[in-house]
């Protein structure tokens, strides 16, 4: 369990993190979502004591990170997979972590195995690692102490599709066994498939938070028909509020079944009818962070 309370970080007058509070629960994957520069990495760094907070506090398992006797055994941290001595081998980096935490040396091989780094790859120097290999090594370092809590900053960066799938399954399984997972991303789709709870941050402030189900409910329905105008009219006649999107679809808060019935009665053929899950959350992400999205300024 991670508790963040009123966390604020100011850099010479610029507020990078502004009164951020949220909780990451055990047994759940919490996605920390926000556009570039929103303050995700800064928040995570404060949690693990690498950056001092200007105000507020973060506790992990009820204690501040700095007071943990052997943090690696309780919290696995991956902030930047490239932040390793380039001249060390992958195996050596794991060995340094294993020794610091006082673990049996067999854990090194177990972890290499878990993240699918081969014997040969593990004896290569990290400067010769691909981004994905570094990410795997970083995840291995985070997991080696069998922690109860995982804090991962953009862990899917650089992973291939199979790697992303593998990581998703790994984190799912980890949370199902009671672990707390907090992972950040600026990619909505990535977070959406993996997270149970979402915390959205924009411009240093929390803009939304809750379970994924909560945030998705009310996302509504997307419908498309050749006779778009006629369909819109029919829906309005049935008392359903519709908006038309630039891509030619109609959006409404009504259930898909209700929309289908209206279309049938109006004898309008639909070319598409679906729940607005993905688009809804994406819309929300863009909307909630509109002021902070760099593209927003140009649009």
């Amino acid at each position: 369990m991670i508790t963040v309370e009123n966390l604020t970080k100011t850099y010479r007058g610029f507020t990078a993190v502004n009164d951020v509070s949220f909780v990451a629960q055990p047994g759940r994957v919490t996605g920390f979502l926000g556009p570039n520069g929103a303050g995700k990495s800064t928040t995570l760094r404060i949690m693990v004591g690498l950056t001092d907070a200007s105000a507020g506090s973060a506790t992990i398992l009820g204690r501040p990170f700095s007071s943990l006797p052997n943090p690696g055994r309780e919290i696995g941290v991956l902030l930047d997979a490239s932040a390793q001595h380039a001249g060390r081998t992958g195996r050596e980096i794991l060995t340094v972590a294993q020794r610091t935490m006082g673990l049996p040396s067999i854990r090194v091989d177990e972890m290499l195995n878990l993240v699918s780094l081969t014997e040969r790859e593990s004896s290569r120097r990290v400067k010769n690692y691909s981004l994905g290999m570094r990410q795997r090594l970083g995840i291995a370092t985070a997991l080696i102490g069998e922690p109860e809590v995982l804090i991962l900053d953009e862990p899917a960066n650089g992973l291939d599709p199979a790697g992303i799938r593998w990581m998703r399954d790994l984190l799912r399984d980890y949370a199902n066994r009671g672990g707390t997972v907090l992972l950040s991303s600026h990619l909505l789709h990535e977070i959406e498939v993996i997270a149970d709870d979402l915390v959205m941050i924009g411009n240093g402030r929390i803009v939304a938070g809750g379970t994924k189900a909560e945030l998705l409910s009310g996302a509504g329905t997307v419908v498309r028909a050749s006779a778009s105008a006629a369909l819109a009219q029919a829906l309005r006649d049935a008392g359903i509020i519709v908006t038309s999107s630039t891509d030619g679809t109609l959006r409404t808060d009504a259930e898909a079944s209700q929309v289908g019935e209206v279309a049938l009665n109006a004898r309008i053929a639909l070319t598409e009818l679906r729940s607005a899950d993905n688009a809804g959350l994406e819309e929300m992400f863009l909307e909630l962070t509109a002021q902070t999205q760099r593209e927003g300024a140009a649009a």
Binding site: L50, H85, T100
Partner: protein
């Protein structure tokens, strides 16, 4: 049922009160930090170069010195010069590589008390400095035996234990200056440049001041750490000179090191 069975629990499966882990002992941090000094190619060769340079300096003395100058003092002097460069660099890199290579991110998340890591590094660089000097002086002694045997003269050992101890102390001051600059600047290039400023530029300025300012010339011993340290190489220090060494070290070493340690504790690691 009289006994309870211990059930092994896999890590994340934990809703019961949290198991408390034993704190990381300082000896373990020492072991890990020592390992980190040798586990990269550059680190390994930096350490190896201490022995290699001692052998080269000794061999050069045997080859190029006329037989009457084959004294242990000359061997020790020939070895001292490369040691005075390499040992501070070992000290600098032990600290700055954490920042230059950004491994500090992992180091300080595994051991959040940064002071413990820095203390371990400090102890190790001082110990390595002493061990290297003992090794180098031993190589010099062997060189003295071989060189004089080849030249067909009797080996001379005019260097006393006290003088050896002073030479080691002088080198340790260099090691500590390197360490201090590493902690203060946290950049490999910056600290190495800083070390050469300390050992080459400051003495020049001090010399220029001494030749123009009579007051400075009379009191330079209290201020010029280089000059004061240099006394360790070839004389018995008076009580005043020891005090001067203490004062100059406080100004140029203890105070900036303290500032550096405070900065390291607070600085943002990213």
């Amino acid at each position: 049922m009289s006994t309870t069975q211990e059930v092994p629990v896999t890590a994340p499966q934990d809703t019961s009160p949290h198991t408390t882990h034993a704190p990381i002992p300082f000896t373990r941090i020492l072991g890990v930090e020592l390992r980190k000094m040798f586990d990269t190619r550059s680190g390994f060769w930096l350490m190896a170069s201490i022995a290699i340079l001692a052998v080269i300096a000794t061999a050069a003395t045997i080859i190029f010195s006329p037989s009457e100058t084959l004294t242990y003092g000359n061997f020790a002097g020939a070895i001292g010069t490369p040691m005075a460069v390499i040992l501070p660099i070992v000290a600098i890199l032990s600290v700055t590589s954490e920042w230059s290579q950004r491994s500090a991110l992992t180091t300080f998340t595994l051991v959040p008390n940064r002071q413990r890591v820095i203390s371990a590094k400090l102890l190790l660089t001082v110990a390595i400095g002493a061990a290297s000097m003992v090794l180098a002086l031993t190589v010099g002694a062997v060189g003295n035996l071989i060189g004089t045997a080849i030249a067909g003269v009797d080996p001379t050992w005019e260097v006393s234990v006290r003088e050896v101890a002073q030479i080691i102390l002088a080198n340790e001051i260099g090691v500590l200056i390197g360490f201090m600059l590493g902690v203060l600047l946290r950049s490999s290039a910056g600290a190495i440049v800083g070390y050469f400023v300390y050992s080459l530029v400051l003495p020049t300025i001090s010399g220029a001041l001494a030749s123009t300012q009579q007051w400075y010339a009379d009191n330079a011993g209290w201020i010029d750490l280089n000059w004061t340290t240099f006394q360790l190489f070839d004389s018995t220090l008076s009580r005043t000179e020891w005090t001067q060494l203490g004062v100059a070290s406080t100004i140029w070493l203890v105070i900036p090191l303290t500032v550096g340690l405070i900065l390291v504790r607070r600085s943002e690691v990213k």
